[in-house]
Structure formats: structure tokens, C-alpha cells
Assembly symmetry: C4
Homo-oligomer: 237 residues x 4
Amino acid sequence: MKEAIKKVVENNDTRLSKGFDFFIQFLIVVSVITFSIETLPKLEPKTRFILSAIEIFCVIVFTLEYLARIYIAEKKGKFIFSFFGLIDLLAILPFYLSFGVDLRSLRILRMFRLFRLLKLVRYNKAMRHFTKAMLLAREQIILFMAVTLVLIYFSAVGIYYFENEAQPDHFASVFDSLWWSIVTLTTVGYGDVYPITAGGKIFTFFILLIGLGIVAVPTGIISSSLTKAVELESEEK
Amino acid sequence: MKEAIKKVVENNDTRLSKGFDFFIQFLIVVSVITFSIETLPKLEPKTRFILSAIEIFCVIVFTLEYLARIYIAEKKGKFIFSFFGLIDLLAILPFYLSFGVDLRSLRILRMFRLFRLLKLVRYNKAMRHFTKAMLLAREQIILFMAVTLVLIYFSAVGIYYFENEAQPDHFASVFDSLWWSIVTLTTVGYGDVYPITAGGKIFTFFILLIGLGIVAVPTGIISSSLTKAVELESEEK
Amino acid sequence: MKEAIKKVVENNDTRLSKGFDFFIQFLIVVSVITFSIETLPKLEPKTRFILSAIEIFCVIVFTLEYLARIYIAEKKGKFIFSFFGLIDLLAILPFYLSFGVDLRSLRILRMFRLFRLLKLVRYNKAMRHFTKAMLLAREQIILFMAVTLVLIYFSAVGIYYFENEAQPDHFASVFDSLWWSIVTLTTVGYGDVYPITAGGKIFTFFILLIGLGIVAVPTGIISSSLTKAVELESEEK
Amino acid sequence: MKEAIKKVVENNDTRLSKGFDFFIQFLIVVSVITFSIETLPKLEPKTRFILSAIEIFCVIVFTLEYLARIYIAEKKGKFIFSFFGLIDLLAILPFYLSFGVDLRSLRILRMFRLFRLLKLVRYNKAMRHFTKAMLLAREQIILFMAVTLVLIYFSAVGIYYFENEAQPDHFASVFDSLWWSIVTLTTVGYGDVYPITAGGKIFTFFILLIGLGIVAVPTGIISSSLTKAVELESEEK
């Protein structure tokens, strides 16, 4: 019995186990779509009922999967406190907790249901590559992330001194300027805050000329280490 | 006779066949420009008449080309259902269908005329490179596209929880937030939706710092595999 | 006499010739700054007079330089119709032409004065690298520029069909949509035009996901061939 | 005594010296956060008092560190006028100067306190890499920065001629157009200034198609030389 379950749940070589994997992934996606539809305003009671039914079904399947994985694990404690064990628990816990608590906290609890997306890591190769690549380039990413943060902070202080008097609402403090800083240096540029004084515009001119090269570095490191990780894996095959 | 047509339509080594290729490409561009001008509001009847005349001429040439290609094909059924065969058909079909249907559906039919642009694939090396490169890197693109989609979805849910109460119009549901998510993470930043709460701004700050590196990966893969495909082709020469 | 002028104007090994090069470059920059200041509205007559004086001085020096270059050229006709010969002529011509024409056309003539910036090409290594790199990667750039243009056009037609009815002002024709297309796919995103219908937003979502990778290719090719050209030059040394 | 201080302040091998390094870095960060909070409008007197107390404590520690570094330096004059010596002085000077001057200039003096961030260079490897990489690629960066500036200027003049009459407020002079130029070519696109005439839009269309590749070059050079510098350092280990 234990062996049969193990074959289906853990391995990925028979038709049945592949079908099981696909079914769980399908339910994760369904569960996420259900979650999204629930956020729509002015839902009819009938729709709410159907969404609840789908949600309950998903939770039942995920619970059975979780129990099955505990059952087949040789060291039960090790599995429960492993990365995937905790993710599997977090994917179902919000549902059970929502019975015992009042309605106010439900909103935050519902958000924890999104941990189910992390369950996809078990099945998705790209996710594995991503976590692997991040670990490989960890040191470099932290170093340049620090440089980027210093640059963003420096830009924020600079623009604060130039724009604070002219736009006391938008550049009220260095913290408000930090919002301008990240939106500008990532080139998003919403247009909700921008310099209007000549000094602020000249400062932005030079910050953009110099800064973009620095901000692009962590992005470049993540991209290149990701592609490296994929190449390594394909060579191993 | 058949051989003579084949020489002109299919091969690309004589002066006549090169002229034919250029003529068809020229008509595709003319047809696309005609299509664009037709969308201009307040056209005079005279202009409309000229545009129609050009359109009819293009369709006649494309129809003759299509029939010639069927005529010279050794396996007629194979050509008709091949990629280029279907494209050639789709390029002329909207015109003939527009006689049999009422005016309401005409609008959508007209759009199908744009399939003519895909006819350029037959002549354009870059397009061939592009489809080739996409096939080569297919697996990687799908994998990282999935990661990108998960990140975009995650950002959308996050901003929904922070901004929903403050801006119930712009962040009405997770679907509305997805619009914010794609516009922000691709750094387009129209400025029609942006966070206004402190929580939403801090969330955006970190999503931008981390997210840009991930969103850039599929872009990087497409770019690098395209340049690889071009290099391979130039080595073959 | 001819030899002495040649040493100063053409070569770049003596102190005097280096000084001459620097002086011409300095005058180009001065001339460009003068041009910029002249565009400022509400200039005092005194400032206008000073700017005119500087302009006349620059033109006199550039004219003398031009005549000297003709004088020292062995084949005078060849120099006059060479790239640098034409640039040198275009840099001074607008000034002399402005005496013979009425005031209305002056505005456009003044703009031609900017050709002086191209005179810097003679002195600036980076400019030389740039033109060299562009020639090397010419074929690839044209190919992918075509793909990019097709994508931009395709996006424009798509958004036109989705948004034309909802926003007849902003998406009046395919030509108006092309403006949206270039601003969105280059991620500039001014925010003057953006989709407001659900269909248009979903279309933009997918166009952005797929399109950015394609639009980035010509940029990537230019960048990489520029750095290649620099490396080649530094190896030659 | 001198040896004992040297062991703690300069070296980085004992537990005590590592703790000292960490403590100084911690104080720099605290000092920067204090600086940011001080910019918040409507602070209570009590908060101001606490912030002043923290500031005084930081300055005392930094002063003691500065004196200790002078004390242990073999050539005192050389240290005082070295890069790090000057940075250490600039980090404490604004505080002492603020006693002797009136309140008006205080604002600018406070900003100099940010030089403390540069003190992190001593401890942060990434900063060292960055300055090293910038020195290595200095020539290339200057060359292409020049090309980028010429392109930005050229775009500004172009848009000035197209938009000046239609939008005399936003494109009042070439200097105003330069603001549009940098915001557009870096793809920030705030949306405060954008072309509205057909000519200006077509000009922007081609400038964006061609210009992005050129503007991306200095960014690419900084990124690639930074990653090279990191690789070199990791090979040395």
C-alpha cells in the first residue's frame, strides 16, 4: 500500500504518477484563478457559492496530498519541517484557520492561500533554476544591490534638496523622495512625481546619465546567472 | 509552361524571379499602407474609391500568385495545408468573404487582411531567423515566461491588498491589479494607475528592485538566441 | 608655406597642431551653446548682440579652416565632395545664405548650423567607432529593424481595433495607434495614450510580454557591435 | 598603546577589530536614517531631541575614529589629505561648522553629512569594485558618453523645431527640450512633456527606434566592466 502511494505521489516515471503531477498543478492554477475571481467586486451569491465549492475541493485534495506525503516519508519530522513540507502546510492552513477566527482577519488569511503558487516549485524546472542561480550569484547580487540602494538613496536626498521648497507635497521628506528615486532609476516614470525646478531637472539629467548603468548591474547578474544555471543543467543531461 | 512558372514563382536565381519577389513584397507593403489609410476618419469618397481600386488590384495579384503556387505544387493538398499555403489563403479570403456577409462583421474581417504581413516571412530572412530562434530556445522561453507570469501575478495580488481600499476604482480586483503589474514590471509606467499608500509604495519599491532582473530574462533569451541563429546562418555560408 | 599649414591643420603630432584641434573643437562647442542660448525666449538686445558677435567669430574661423583644408588638399575636387568636405561647408553655409533670403526661412537655415556637431566626428574616436560598427552590423540591423517595425505596426493595428470605439480621439486611425505602439514598446510610456478597454489591456499585456524581447534585439546588436569595434581598435594598437 | 589601537582600527583579523568595523558601519547606517527622519515635516520636539542625541553620539564616535586614525598613521599629513582621510573629515565637519554659522546655510551644511555614506567605501567590497571598474573602462565610458550627449542634444534641437510653436511653454528653448530628451531617451517618460504635433511624433518615432541602441552603450560598458572586475577579484583569491 505504502509503496503504491509512493510510486504515484513521489516518482514521475509511470503514466499514473505523471497524471497525478499534472492534476495537482492543474488544481493549483484553478485555485489561483478562483482566488482572483473572488476579489471581483459585486459577485452574485450563486458565483460565490460555486467558487467556495471549488475552493473546498482544492483544499481537500491538497490535504490528502499532504497527508500522503507525510505517510510515505521515512522521517516524518524531517519532511514536515522541510521547505516543501512547510509550503504544503501553508497552502491549506489558511482554509482551516478561517473557521476559528472572526471575519476581520479573513482578508489577510486569504492572501496566504497564494503560498500554493510556491507548490509549483516542486514541478517547475524554471523555479528550481531560479533558486539555484540566486544561490550561486548570492554574494554578487548582495554587493551590487547595496551599491544600487546607496545610489537610490543618494538620488533621493539630492532631489529632496532641489524640489522640497517648490513641491512640498510631493517631496515632503527623504522618504517621499525615495519613491521618486526608485520610479525614475528603474525608468518606470509614472509621472506622479517629477522635478519642476531647473536645479532638480539638471540633477535628474546627470543621475539618469550615470545611474542607469549602475542600476542595470543586479538585473544583468540575475539574468546571466540564470542562463548559466540552465546551461549547466542541460550539460549534465 | 509549368516549369516556366516554377522558375519565376519559386526559385530566386534569375532576374525575372527576383523581380517577381520584389513585386509581391512591394504589393504587400502597398496593401498594408492602403489598409492604414482606410482607418483614417473623414475620408473623401474619391480617396475611398482609389483605395478600393488598389485593394482589388492587390487581391487579384495575390490570388493569381496563390493559384500559380497550387498549380506548380507537386502535392497540391500538402501545399494548401502548409504554413505558407494557409497564409496565402488568409491574405485573400477576407476580400472574397466580404461580399457574402453584412456590414457589421466587415470590421473584423478587414483585420484579417493583415495576415498578408506574414506573407513577408517567405521573403524576409530575419523572420526566418526569428521563427528558427524561437523554436531553438522554445523550452527555456516557456520556463522563464512561467516564472515571469508568476511574478507578475504575485505583484498584482500584493498591490491589490495594499491599494484596494485606498483606490477602489483602479485596484478593483486582482485582474485590474494585473494591468498595473505588467505596466510597472516592463517599466512602461503610463501613470494611469500607481500606488498611493505608503505600504503600496514600499511594496512596489522592493518588487521593482527584485523583479526587473527576472522580467528581463525572457527578453535576454530571445535576444541572445536570435543573434545566435544569425551567426549560425552566416557561418553556413 | 603649404607644408607649414598642413602640419598644423592635418597632422596631430606637434604641440601647435594639437592646440589647433583643441581650439576648433572648443569653437564647435561654443557655437552649439550659442545656438542653444539664442532659442531662449525674451533675450535682451545686448545678449543678442554678444551672441551674434561670437557666431560671426566662429564662422570666420571655420571658413578659414575650410579654405586652408582646400588649399592643402592635393585633389581639391575630391576633398570638397568628400564627407568631411561637405560637413565643413554645411557648417558655414547657413550663415552666408542668411544674408540673401527673407526672415521666414531663417528659422530652418539656423537649424543647419547644427551640422557643425558632425565636424566633431573628425576629432572624436567614439564617433568613428560608431560609424564603423554601424557599417559592420549593417545587414543585421536592417533585418531586425524590419522585424521591429512589423511588430510595432501589428501592435498598432491590434490596439486600433480594441480602442478605436472607446477612445476615438486618441486612437483615431492606425497612424495615431502607431504613436501608442512606439511609446509603449520602447517602454517610454508617457501616459498621453493608453488602453482603457478590457480587450485593449489584455492585448497590451501579451504584446508587452512577447514584444520587449524583439524590440531589444536591434539595441543589443548596436551595443555589441560597438563594443566589438572598440576591442578591435585597441588590439590593433 | 598605539599598536593596540592599530590592531583594532586598521586590521580586520581579530574578533575585536571585526566588531569595531561592524559598529562603525552600523553607526553610518543609523546616522543616515536619522538624517532621513529629520527631513520629515511636523516632527515633535521630543523626536527632534532624540534625533539630535543620536547625531551627537555618532559625531563623537566618528571624531574619535578620525583622531585614532591620525594617531596611528605613520605619515600624518599623508593620511589627512588622502581620499579616506578627507572623507572622514567631511563626515564630521558639518556638525562642528553648524555652531559658528547662522541658520540659513545650515540646510546645505546638513547635506554634507551624507559624505558619511562614502565612509562605507572603506568597508564595502562592491564600492571598491565599482571605482576600480570605472577606472578601467574610463576611456570608453567618456567616449560613448560624448556620443550619447550629442544624440541627446540633437534630439532636443529636433523636437524644439517641431514643438516650439505648438507648445511654447513646454518647449520654450533648447534647454527645456533637453529635459524632454533625457526623459525620453532613457525611457523614463514621466508624461509631463511629450510631442503633440504630427512632425514631432514622427521625429520621436525615429529617434526612439535609432537612439535607444546608442544610449544603452555606456550602460552596457559600466555593467560589463563591473562584472569583469568582480571576476578578476574572485580569480585572485
